[in-house]
Structure formats: structure tokens, C-alpha cells
Symmetry: D2
Subunit: 376 residues, 4 copies
């Protein structure tokens, strides 16, 4: 054990997502046989008192009210960013300039230009980066991707994906950072997840035709406020998508989907089969493959289990089920491997940049009411 | 009983859909308390021998190889058309000219212009017409429509619908009437169903942005043929839709959706709830309504039962379940009422014409790669 | 067509189940290519006026208020019995004595002794008989049975079955013929269905250990009555079952299962797989088979379709779905074949007698609080 | 923070369940706001080398090859037992004698007598105890229990429960500790879970009528061995159950249920509603309540979320989903509260003893082929 390098974590953000990061860093060594020892070094939050309290509670040695101190701290190896979106760029670039690895929540940046600057900085510095598109860490996504790539469903022809929740379905839901015109909206918040998944499973999206809609033209300025403020972002976004490999389909981002809590879902159709998934039943993957007869054929419900690594690190048998927080632990384990092995993790800033470009293209396509090529 | 008028049926088409019509006409009086007595008068099929055989088997008094004779037969009150799409117009207009009511399979016509001619002829003559969008006859669709109209889910904001099957998923599936450039393709064949349903439940679609795709560029000329012929119609069609009431969404028509057999499905989202359905479980409707707490709230699965008329005409209790053929019987009962009461049935030629216009607009929108207003 | 024999139907009972029979006889020739022509000859009901009205509506030539006249009518070939349970024996034996075939609703009789007399009479006379255990006519039951017999799931080891509904869940549900001590109770009414299914799929039950429970000790004498009358029959019955082939399990009959509408369901477990079904989704069968790895294995949902005859007689493609009334049509088609071909149909009086013996054994086992062998 | 007492953990067992305990102890402080600080003090395993390795990996300060040293270690406050079942009694009683709290995996003991000795020792010493019936920690079980107790489903009338998996379905699955005649078998291993749940939700079981079955009469002595050894325990156990409150039903324990991975499931029926659950979808609870009409009524699928504490400690919103390991964290948090507050946790040794008595009664009932009262 003595031979293992230490990786000292500096975490920016003591809110919910910050706690989620901290817990994943705490848990990961108990689950995985990691190539490094993880130490929770320092926690930063603009609210210095909260930082101090949570640092103690979450097991960090130190705390600070100034993320800049954290980003340049000599005792920090990796900077984890669970701060407001608008801070992602300054924190990440500062951390990279100081030689740190960076683990950043999604979306990477408020727009493609910012994302490009972050990517360029990271690649120039050779920094290991990882962006928190948690849902890609599901072992069943690995299986789905493998099946697609192995041709198990033939050539991919169609993709139908969405991420639908309902936390903004009511017009009484107030403005938050999510409705900030700089980087906000359902497409950026939720659409980026389904775009990440589409890219992971089917490949690059090369052309889009979007339709962004604002359902509630005004929202309370803050929780319970009677002052209504105009909304400038989308509540729901639909888009045609065409993939590099010729497949086509539609995606949807919707935070006003009454009744839906986590319908990050897709149907990948191939010439010889299909794969269906929803995050609402994250331990199940439905697969169909054409056979000569339908007499004994149909969709098969594959349950997550030890045959889908790294499920077995968490539970000894199928049926036990992974939860959301386990996905974050898997994500962190990949980050640690990337750092120790001096290589890119996935999805890194480059991938997140491409996701952001796709988001931007859909938004522009909607505004201009025309098809847009993503990389033109 | 003697007071009831007779309605004598002339059916064109002795194939599967023809049998389906015949069976519905045979069964309907046993299920419903109809205002008329139905008599199976004459069956026409281009294959005169088949017509004769099936006439006997299905209980028709007479048969003919010439639909024109049927359409002008004095002993016929209603002409049912289960013939190839390209014959819908001549048969229907001839029948209408002869004073008959007309019951026509969908799609009404090969394009909007033909549909308009048929509609105009019917309305000029005051003919009762009904077009076979079977799935609207599901008692649960009546409930869904009522809930929407009563505001049970608030204002409708989003619609996500599709009709996906896989009978053309394989490139080995040959050309048939369905791939005929005149009126063929997944959008016309399946898309018309989901458009009909969207209109029935949410209202008119006023703007579309389509993307039609041909997956298999060639298909065998006929079953088993080694001669490959180019395909000119779509295998899958996606479209943005905007409704008159301001709701928006996407629809899809797909006959290459590997694994899907009858995914005529929708999710209607409102500001205060949502309604979810798939024809694959045609006896279930899922409904969600916002409540102050989620503690005991969630989607409710409503099962079709006697509380959803006319289910009780078929089965004495919930759980027994209606099947596809029962929908056809309900459709026929509505036709009979329309005829006897001298009023339009639903969906009539006018409604089918509007559906056709929507289909045409989506197709044009895809070709021209731009948004199209449906009634501009 | 002239060569086909005629089968003239006499139906006793103009209530709901009688209509159901009549409709099945009306429809069956349009669906199947039968070896006989069916004629609706005469309808009997104790309510002579109702008989006359319904005869006209349902297409019978004649009607009577006296089933005895029907049972001996020279123009009747098959007597269909949809009358109260206590009349099954006299009607059936009279009809058999007059050389008729008999189609009887379940349960065959009020107890095993009566069932035996009926069976003996039928077999002595060589009469074709069929008892209406409708649910066995589901094409997916044919598939399930075939899979069991072909060893697709290995040796059958366990059976878990039930028929649960909730029409008597409320103590306000009044006495009806179902609570008649002679032949009533949940076990007789619903348990007979799951016993029939268990026998059809797994084989004879040779030993039982039952527990019958009366939930509501009194019920209103009739709908809305304030007079409460003691209940002597079971609301729910559980029983251990051991099959001739060594498999074991439990069955349940429950008419107080709040929320359940048609949970006639089973799980057949074998050493190498399992088959799961519920009538609430009568067009789906779930099958699991052991494979070397679970990585791509799981339960497969088989949808009813043309690969499951005679589904294709009703619908051209999978996904359309059969309904309850279609099962009755299939049942009648089997009856007709039995009559014309002069052989037993299935399930005949002998099979129904054995089902009744199993019911009786479970009831006695519960009373005596001990295991009972079914045929001892 | 300085005021919080320390709770120092001694864990016996470095196998999978031991790791599961260790991870829960590591994670719990990050999730809950605990009244104590947890320290991983010492890890014991009969394999001393494994103990040392895992101690380091899992964050324990020390390790030992002798559980006796751990049980009497002055630096240990709570002894967690994840050792073979036959060691539960000696370890627990030794720990209790040394003034420790005890956290023991289920089943508590090999039989009721051993369980009684353990319970008596704990209660005499006033030790806080908790037995690892993990699944009771599901927030949805809290909701289900509350609904039952609040009368939301009326009087409970029926219970149908099971725990079915298939890890011993194949006859090639070898003997392990699970098939040890002392305390082994499906009933003890899995049945104890469904009995625990039944008691938690519906109350004490007072009478049983069991049927235990051994499907594979022999099994390989060990993995891959060709030497077959007789099996003395049950592969599947069914039992009638009657509850103190008058409800009745059946339970099943089955480790040969081909295809099932975690069907720990139940249906609680009341006079006015019902509650349905399966651990295979541990984030969903299905509830039905009688309403005047079924028109808009049906089973409601409640999804686990922040309205079901302590879900919100893990995830910020519904839909994210808890996993199996989260249940263990909740269990540990309850243990810590029990210890700090000097009171019993739930389920403690007394509850586990009663569960064991129920297991014993079912086994004896099967052997003697008669009904048995549980506490006679």
C-alpha cells in the first residue's frame, strides 16, 4: 500500500452536488481497488462558514471561502468543481494553470466558446479532466455501447432520446441559476445529458433542427416572491438530429414534463434489433434482436448484475441494484485512473466541448428556424 | 323491431381488412342496441372468384368482380371500402354520386387534393362518411380527450407521439402497395394514425418541420424476388409539430422500428398533469396529476372497464380487455348511428382531409428543409 | 359450401354470459374456416319476454321461456348453457338424453358428485361436451404448454398461481348466486380457473392443503338492502398444491383482492427456466431460460401474434391484440370441430369433473385442517 | 463537532458482507448528520492476512486473525458481525459480555434457542443490537407501514409475500454454508426476509402451515466437484400464514426460482385498498385505494423521493434512485442513533428472535404436516 501515490482533493462547492462529490471520494476506495490513496484536503465555498462546517462533516482537513486559494494550493492534486456554472471556466483554468487535474460538473461551460477555452487550456497543459455526465457511468451503458459497436442490432438507423423531468413544470417554480440566460435552460441543463448519451452510444451528431419553447413567459424572481420576471430560456427543446453514421432521430430536453422525474431515456433502433432504456429504471436494459420467428422472441429485460462490471464491486449478485450515488463513485474511479495513468478520462473537456457545440447548434437552429450543421 | 330501418352493406375488398369490416358488421348488432338492422348485401373484389367464396363464408347475399356495380346497386345503403388506396377516390365518389353513405379505410386518399375532392363530393351530397382510424374508437381515448378538455391536466403544453412498427425494418421486406410513391410511405401509413390521434386529443396542428428518411434505398420487387427496385418513400418520418392551442412537440412515423409491433403511443403534457398511452397496452391509460406532495402521488394506471363506455357492451367487468377487432365494432356502431341519424360520423372525410393536409405539409417541409404552416 | 353440415344452436340464458355465447356463435364463421354452418335456432330464458326480445336482437329464430322445450327440440344440435349453476346438471343431462352436444359455462356443477353424474351421462351417450374455461383458449397458453412439454424450461419444479379480482372486496357487495352455499365462493368461482390452468400447463394436482377464509361474515341480502345475512362461503382461498409430476406450489382464489381486476396469473418454474403470465396483460407471455451468462439474458416478453395460432385468424399482425371475446370465439370454434368430428372437445366434462374434485379437496382440506389427496 | 462521542467499530468478517458493512460505516457520516463520530478501529478475519490487507484498504486502523481479541478490545464500542452464521452466537455473546453494542447480519442464529440466548444476553446487558434485515430500511417500507397503520387501505385482510431468487436453481450449484443443515435452507436464508417484512408491515404471525421442498436431492460437495452429497435443507418453502390481526395469506422462500434475482415482494390487501412491492424495483411502490368510480382510478406508482425520508439525504430529487448499498447506510445510521441514545434499534435481537421462531414453526409444520401456532 505504501507505494500508492496520494491524490489530494480540493472541492469547490459545499452544496448538494458538492456533498455528492465528497461522498463519492470518501466511498470509492472501499469499493474499488484504486491505484492511489485519496485524501480530502480542502473544501471551498463562497459561504466560508458553510465551508468550515461541511469540511468537518465531510472529512476535509481544511476549508476556505476563496476558491482561488484552493486552485493554487500546493497540497491539492485534483480540483473538483461543483460550483455555479458561470464559475466553471475561471476555476478550471486557474486550477489547470496551477497544474491540477480537474473534475467538473456538467455543463462544462455557458457556451461553446468558453468550453473551447477550457478544453484548449487543459490540452495544452496535459491536464486530466473529467466532466460529470454521471449517467454514462451506468454499467448498462457500457453494455449498450458494446452491443451497438459489435453490430448486435445491425446498422443503427434511428435514435429517439430525451431527458424529461418536471421540476420547472409549474409556473410557480422561481428563477434560479438554471434560468440564467448565460448557459441556462432545459436544453443546456438536461439536453446535454441526452446528447452526451447519444454521442456515447451512436456517435457524433452532425446536423440538427431545433425548436426551443418557453412555456412560462415569467417566473417569480425567487421562491415565493410575487415579483414576476421574464424568462429568457427554454422550458422544453426538441430537435431533429442526424448522426455521422447516417442514423437520424429526435431528441428532447424538458423540465416541464409533468409527472416525469428522471426520464433520461432512449431507443436505439438498428436494422436488426433495438435497445431501450430509461434512467427511471436504471438497472434494466431492454433489448430486441430479430430472429426468424417471433414465436418465442420479444424484448428481453436485462437486469444489471455482476456480469456488467463494475456492478460486482458494489453488490454480490444481480437484483440488488445500483443507485444514483453509485454512478458517481464509478465516475470518480475513472477519474482516479486517468490521473494516475496520466491519460484522459472520459468524458473529458474535449468531449464536453463537443456536447456544448451540439447544444449551441440546436439553440441557434431554433432561433434561425433552419437546419444547422454542428461543425460547420 | 319491425320499425328499425335496414342498412344494407356493400363491401369492396375481400382481403384481410375487408374481412375485418365484414366481421364488424356481423358482430355489431349483438353488441350494441342499434337503431337499424344491418344486412350484408354484396361483396366486391377484383378477384371475382375470391369475392364469391368470401361472400358465402362471410354471409353476404351476393358478390361481384366489379366495384362499379356495387357502388350503384340499388340494394346498397352504405359502401365500405377496403380496397387499395388508389381506388378510394373513384369508389367513394361513385358511391356518393349514387346516394350511398361511405365507410372508407384510411388513408382517405393519396394526397390532399384527392382528399379534398372526396370531401367536397360528400359534403355536397350530404353523405354520411367515416374513415377507419380505428384507434380513436378506444374507450380510453374518449377518457383522455375528456380529461384534456376538462382541464384535468391544466393547459396542454407538450405532445410527444409516434406510431412505430417494424414490418418494413428488414431490407428484405419487398415493395407492396405501401411503398407505392402515390400515397405510400411510413408517414402516410402510420403517421396518419398518430396525427389523427393528436388532432383528436389536442387539436389542430398548424405548423410542422419534418424529416423523412429512407433507410433501405432499394427493396425486392416482390416477396423473394432478387430484383431490387429503388424505394421512393420514407421508412421513418419525424416532425416538429405546433398546435393551434400553443402546445408543441414531435411526432414520428416509423415502420422500421425493430422490435415494435404497435407502438402507437403518446404523452400529452399539461401544466398540471400528463396522460400517457401506448396501443401495445390498449387497455391501460396512465395519468399523472400534480398534488401538493409526491409522497403518495405518481402515475395512475387506469384499466379499461365498464366505467369507460362502450366497454360494458363487450365485457361485464374491468380486466377482461378489449381487442383490436372490438375497436372496429365500435367504429361501425358510430357509422350506423351517423347514417340513421343523418349526420356526420367521426372521423369523417373532412377530418381525414385535414389529416391528409398535415401529412402533405410534413412531407413538403422535409423536402424543402423548412418549417411549413399547415393551412397557409 | 353446400356440403357443410348445419349445427343449430339452442342457448339457455339471455343474460350477459348468454349474450357472450350468442356473439361468439355469430362471429365464429367470419373468423374461422369451420367444417359446419352455424344457425342460431332458439333462445331460452326463464324470463320469456326477455328471451323473445333478445332472440330477435341476437339473431335467433325462436325463443322460449322453458329450457326443457329447448333441450328436446328436434331442430337443436348443440345446447349452450349460460344459466345459473344449479341448473347446469338438469339442463345438460336432459340435453344429452336427447342426443345433443353440450357447451356449458363453468363451473360444471355445484360439487364433484353432480359433475360425475354429468360426465357419466355424457360419456355414456358419446356426447361432445365443452366447459367454458375461456382463458385456456388464449394462444399464449398453447405456447406455454408446448414450452413446458418440450422441456424448454427443464423439469417443472414450482407453480405459483392465483385468480384474484375485487368484485366482492367490499362488505357492501351483496349476496348473489356466487355466495350460494351450493357451489359458491371464491374458490369455486375463480379458483376453478387457476386450477384448470395449472392442470392444462403442469398436469394433475394430487395433493392439497387449503385455507379458506371468509372476510365479510355478513353481506346485504341484496343490492342496497339493509338486511345483513350470514355468508357461508369463502372470500379467499389459499392452498398448497402438489402435482403428479412432483412439482409443488401454492394457488389462491380471491374475490376480495382490492385493486385487482383480472389477476389470473401464474409463474411456472422449471430447473432451466420459467414462464410468467397474467390475464391482465393477456397478450404477453414472459419467459426466462438459463444461459451461460446473464450479461445479455433476462425475461423475454413475447407478444401475441400470428406466430401463435389462431391469433392470425383475428388480426393480421402482432401488436393488434386479442380481447376477451375473441377467446370465446376460439372456444366455440373448438366446440364446432369436436361436434363435427365426433370427438371430445377440451376441456370436456371429464376435465371439468377433475377440476371440481380438486376444488372439493381443497375445501375439505381447509375444513379438516389437514392435507388431502385429490383422488384418494 | 468536538462534543460528539466517538463510536469505534470492530468488524468481524472481511468477505463481501464485511466490505458492505465497512463501506456503510465509511459513508454514513457524509450522508447523515450523525450524533457521533465513527471510527473504523479493527477488522477481524479468520484469514489474518486477508484481514490485514482489507483493513488497510477499507480504512481500519488495526486488524486481527482472532475475533475474540476484537470482541474484548477496549477501543471497540460496537461489534459488527459479518461472519458465518454459526459464529453469530459466540461472537455476539462475547461482545455483549464485554459491554459492546452489536450489529449482526441475519439470520441472527441457527435456530430459535440460540436466538433466545443471544436476545436474553443482550437484554440483560442492556446492549443496543441491530440485525441486518436490510430491506426494511427502504424509505418506501416506512411509507407502506404508515399507510397500513393509518388505515389507508382499510383493515388488512390478505398478505401474499415471497423472497425468490435463483442462485441455487441449478443442481450444479454446490453445497455452501447456505446448505448447512444447521441453520441453512431457503426458508432461513430468504424466508426470514419476507417474514421480517410481513411482521414489520402487518404484524405478528401466529399460525403457519408449511411445505418445504428439496428440489435437488444431491449437490456437488464444492464448486466443480464431481462428488455429490445429499442435501438436507429446503430449496423452496411455502407456508400458510395467519396474522394476529386476523389477516391471512401465503409466503414463499425460494432460491431455485429460475430467472428471479431479487423478488422480495408482497401484496398487502385491505378492505379498502392494497399495496404492492417488489425489491426488483425497490424505488417504486404501487398503491390502490377504492374510490366511488374506477373511471379515473387504478394502481398508482409512487416513486421514491425526498418526500420519503431519508431519501433526501442521498439524492436531491425523485427519480435518482437509491441502491442496495444505500439501504445499508440507512441501517447503520439507525444503529448509531440507537447506540448514542442508549435505546434499542430496529430490528433488534428480540425482533430477530421472533422471526427465527416463525421460521422454526414453518419448518416443524412442514415436517409434521400440520398447522402450528407460532408461540404455543
Amino acid at each position: 500500500m505504501e507505494d500508492k501515490p496520494r491524490i489530494r482533493v480540493g472541492l469547490v462547492g459545499a452544496g448538494f452536488m458538492g456533498r455528492c462529490h465528497a461522498n463519492a471520494f470518501r466511498s470509492v476506495a472501499g469499493i474499488f481497488d484504486l491505484p492511489a490513496e485519496i485524501e480530502l484536503e480542502i473544501l471551498a465555498d463562497a459561504d466560508e462558514k458553510l465551508a468550515a462546517e461541511n469540511a468537518s462533516e465531510l472529512g476535509f482537513r481544511r476549508s476556505t471561502g476563496d476558491w482561488r486559494k484552493l486552485a493554487s494550493d500546493l497540497e491539492v492534486d485534483v480540483v473538483a468543481i461543483a460550483a455555479p456554472n458561470s464559475l466553471h471556466e475561471p476555476i478550471a483554468t486557474d486550477a489547470i494553470a496551477n497544474g491540477k487535474s480537474v473534475y467538473c460538473e456538467k455543463p462544462l461551460a455557458v457556451d461553446g466558446e468558453a468550453a473551447k477555452r477550457m478544453m484548449d487550456a487543459a490540452e495544452l497543459a496535459g491536464a486530466t479532466t473529467l466532466v460529470g455526465f454521471n449517467f454514462l457511468s451506468n454499467p448498462l451503458m457500457t453494455l449498450a455501447r458494446e452491443m451497438v459497436q459489435d453490430g448486435d442490432i445491425g446498422d443503427v438507423t434511428c435514435f429517439r432520446g430525451r431527458h424529461a423531468e418536471d421540476y420547472m413544470a409549474s409556473g410557480d417554480s422561481p428563477h434560479t441559476f438554471r434560468t440564467d440566460p448565460a448557459g441556462g435552460g432545459a436544453l443546456a441543463d438536461l439536453g446535454s445529458h441526452i446528447i452526451a448519451m447519444a454521442r456515447y452510444l451512436v456517435g457524433p451528431i452532425i446536423e440538427v433542427g431545433g425548436n426551443l419553447r418557453t412555456i412560462h413567459e415569467t417566473r417569480p424572481e425567487s421562491q415565493g416572491s410575487s415579483r414576476l420576471v421574464p424568462v429568457e430560456v427554454d422550458d422544453v427543446a426538441y430537435s431533429h438530429v442526424v448522426f455521422e453514421n447516417g442514423a437520424a432521430g429526435v431528441i428532447e430536453a424538458n423540465w416541464a414534463a409533468s409527472g416525469k422525474t428522471m426520464d433520461l431515456s432512449f431507443e436505439i433502433t438498428g436494422s436488426a434489433g433495438s435497445i431501450v432504456f430509461t434512467q427511471e429504471r436504471m438497472n434494466e436494459l431492454r433489448v430486441w434482436r430479430r430472429k426468424p420467428s417471433r414465436r418465442q422472441n420479444g424484448f428481453t429485460i436485462i437486469e444489471s448484475g455482476p456480469d456488467h462490471p463494475p456492478y460486482g464491486r458494489f453488490c454480490p449478485a444481480p437484483g440488488h441494484q445500483l443507485g444514483f450515488n453509485d454512478l458517481k463513485v464509478i465516475e470518480v474511479s475513472r477519474l482516479i485512473h486517468g490521473i494516475v495513468e496520466g491519460r484522459a478520462a472520459f468524458p473529458d473537456f474535449r468531449e464536453a466541448y463537443r456536447i456544448q457545440l451540439t447544444v449551441d447548434a440546436i439553440r441557434r437552429s431554433s432561433t434561425e428556424r433552419r437546419w444547422i450543421r454542428v461543425f460547420e
